[in-house]
């Protein structure tokens, strides 16, 4: 018989090895699915994982696009990793992302048609503040009314989506847009644009911010007392309390950080790749980032790679759609498999598999 035996401490080798194994298993199971759909599994897998990086025709375009797509995912996931490490579950990053974009865009458009160089820094601050305040709602309610932050933060996503629709069709609508929904284009107005940092790559300030966040989080977790307290609060809440960690303060800080980074990501997207506030501006980054955070084992470097891997499956998935007409839901199922295998294999880092009779049985 097969038994699971809890390891005294999580296996380091397995926690590094399972992501790789999960990717391999996804390739096998996904390949079987593609084959069942009548596609050549090897070609499909190659297009998804290899072509965006090395195809002669696409790679020059899609390599920097990987960073552009991964940027907001990494930025949000880094923020989420603080709370997730401490056992504080912000599921509403999507809402904080929207409110950050709305606040930043509203700030920039309030001064329209100003082209001041101070405008973009102000928008970044407004975006961060917007996301931060939106995250403070579940935080404050948790600390002072003992509500569940999972539910409150998630439900606030729907409130934020309603605000987004009303902004796009009402209070932020482009006055020159002939009544059509959508704000003015921020990306094409000097001063409010999130500029390309390297010509022709599409790489913008948000990508840079994501890298800075990775480094900052790494230093915090490795070297700083706050990082240690977060870990302690997550692994041993009682011990944390005895050692002087204030749980309320921890909730406010963790939700605040994740809200601020999600808000910043929203601002960078609305002023860059998306360009404007539209009804459907949010593309699910806030939810995908939850996957990225866990795929990266809540570790900053892990999240960096996880974000890039997710971006690769998106861009490679689009190529597979275009070149082989693999249906989009099959690509989504493929991404789902990745998460499934990752979480399923997670058991290996915490448990040892024993085959044979239990000694005491």
């Amino acid at each position: 018989m097969i038994r699971l035996e809890k390891r005294p401490t999580p296996s380091r080798a397995w926690s590094l090895g399972t992501p790789v194994l999960a990717v391999l298993l996804t390739m096998i199971a996904g390949g079987a699915m593609f084959a069942a759909l009548g596609q050549d599994p090897f070609e499909t897998i190659r297009i998804i994982f290899w072509d965006p990086l090395f195809h002669e025709r696409f790679a020059a375009f899609s390599r920097p696009q990987l960073l552009v797509k991964a940027g907001p995912l990494i930025l949000i996931a880094i923020g989420l990793s603080f709370g997730f490490r401490a056992g504080i579950w912000n599921i509403g990053a999507e809402g904080q992302y929207i409110v950050g974009a709305l606040s930043g865009a509203a700030f920039g458009l309030a001064f329209y048609p100003s082209e001041s160089v101070l405008l973009f820094p102000g928008m970044i601050l407004a975006g961060i503040l917007g996301g931060l305040l939106w995250a403070m709602i579940p935080a404050v309610l948790k600390v002072f009314a003992n509500t569940n932050e999972i539910l409150v933060s998630l439900l606030l996503v729907y409130v934020a989506e309603a605000m987004l629709a009303s902004a796009a069709t009402g209070w932020l609508r482009n006055p020159d847009g002939q009544g059509f929904p959508g704000s003015r284009n921020l990306a094409r107005h000097p001063g409010t644009d999130n500029p390309e940092l390297f010509a022709g790559t599409g790489i913008h300030w948000g990508v840079l911010a994501a890298f800075i966040a990775v480094i900052a989080a790494y230093v915090l977790f490795q070297k700083h007392m706050f990082g240690y307290q977060i870990k302690l609060a997550g692994q041993a809440p009682r011990a944390a309390r005895f050692s002087g960690v204030n749980p309320g303060r921890m909730v406010l800080l963790c939700l605040g950080i994740s809200g601020a980074l999600a808000g910043a990501a929203g601002l960078f997207e609305v002023s860059g790749p998306a360009g404007q506030i539209t009804i459907d501006f949010n593309a699910g980054y806030g939810f995908t980032a939850i996957i990225v955070a866990f795929l990266g084992r809540l570790h900053p470097i892990g999240i960096l790679f996880a974000g890039l891997l997710m971006a690769l499956t998106y861009i490679g998935g689009e190529l597979a759609q275009l070149m082989l007409q693999v249906p989009a839901p099959a690509i989504q199922a493929f991404q789902g498999m990745l998460l499934f295998f990752l979480l399923a294999l997670d058991v290996l880092s915490n448990y040892r598999i024993r085959i044979g009779r239990a000694a005491a049985a």
Partner: protein, 359 residues
């Protein structure tokens, strides 16, 4: 589709990014960007039918590719660019939200033809826009609804408060009232284009409020299912939704993009394509009225068909005065016809509709 891959492999040897667009691979490749899944049986389904019609019309001379469920946010520009790098010579972006992205990519690929649905941005000579005069269809189903309602309450599931939707409500109301002066419209704003749960709830709320006819400007079939249970009638939206005929679905407004797609792809292949802003209706075949079932009395079917024919021939325009605005002020004088500019930006209700347009 395999051939495209082979072509790519060959073409890739010769060309870099800049040359990709102009690389004249034999067959002419047309790319379609869809906002929903091709199986939504509504908006995207009809665009995909248009794509298939193009394939059928031109056979081996044309190759088509598509990407479905492409969000209207930051991803659109990348998807369009990849299509072109993959060899597309012409791109149809089939949702309003792709406007900015379409124009941004068009600037980089001046040799590729771009067609953007339901938008207005044509910043480059290689970008055209096209849309359908859905309000012509709404006039016809409004006419039927006015005749059919017994409670005199017509429920209307609206998506977003944008000119396109407001125009539809006004057109349907005017033609329902023309045949039934007591008719009232109840509008629910669902704030979605496609959300079966939300649409179903909206339909139920309208039925609870006494509506015995449900119109929808959202794309799922959920309201049809709710109406079937409640025994009230509906109209198919975007797609025929014939699976709900003969009741609740008694007729439908169908978006028929095939004639336009076939014509424009042909023009692009011949080199006679020119930038245009197309707004076609029933007459040009872009808006179709689905079969009227025998749940509709024969004389109503006849009068609705007559209305449809008068609109198609151009003899009658659904917005012909006298029409007042909701506040009672005059909009169109006797015999005056609304101009396209006002219609395109319509942000007001006509007289008789109660309630406010949310802001």
């Amino acid at each position: 589709m395999r051939t495209l891959t082979r072509l790519l492999a060959g073409a890739a040897l010769a060309t870099g990014i800049a040359g990709a667009a102009s690389a004249q691979d034999d067959p002419f490749t047309v790319g379609f960007v869809y906002v929903g899944p091709t199986g939504d049986f509504g908006w995207t389904y009809e665009h995909d039918q248009g794509r298939l019609a193009v394939e059928e019309e031109y056979g081996d001379a044309v190759e088509t590719v598509f990407a479905e469920s492409v969000p209207e946010g930051p991803d659109a520009e990348r998807v369009i660019t990849q299509m072109i790098l993959g060899g597309a010579d012409m791109i149809f972006t089939t949702s309003f939200g792709y406007g900015e992205a379409t124009n941004a990519v068009a600037a980089q690929f001046p040799d590729v033809y771009f067609e953007h649905a339901t938008g207005y941005l044509r910043e480059h000579p290689n970008v055209s826009t096209y849309s359908a005069r859905f309000y012509e269809g709404r006039a016809v189903i409004g006419h039927i609804a006015g005749h059919m309602t017994e409670s005199n309450i017509i429920g209307y599931i609206a998506s977003y408060p944008i000119p396109e939707v407001i125009r539809g409500i006004n057109s349907a109301y005017l033609h329902a009232r023309a045949v039934n002066p007591d008719v009232e419209f109840r509008v629910v704003w669902a704030y979605t284009w496609f959300d079966p749960a939300a649409e179903g709830e909206a339909a139920q709320a309208l039925i609870d409020a006494g509506a015995d006819v449900i119109m929808q400007h959202t794309d799922s079939t959920a309201p049809q299912a709710i109406a079937e249970e409640a025994g009230v009638i509906t109209f198919g939206q975007a797609s025929d939704m014939y699976q709900f005929a003969p009741r609740p679905r008694v007729s439908s407004i169908i978006d028929d993009w095939a004639p336009y797609y076939i014509r424009r792809v042909g023009e692009a292949m011949e080199g006679t394509w020119e930038q245009a802003d197309t707004w076609d209706g029933i007459g040009a075949g872009m808006v179709g009225i689905g079969e009227m079932t025998d749940a509709i009395p024969e004389e109503v079917r006849a009068s609705a068909t007559e209305l449809m024919e008068r609109i198609a021939s151009g003899e009658y325009h659904p917005f012909t005065g006298p029409i007042n605005m909701q506040d009672g002020s005059a909009w169109l004088a006797e015999g005056e016809i609304a101009d396209d500019g006002t219609l395109a930006g319509m942000d007001f209700y006509v007289e008789g509709i109660t309630g406010e347009i949310p802001n």
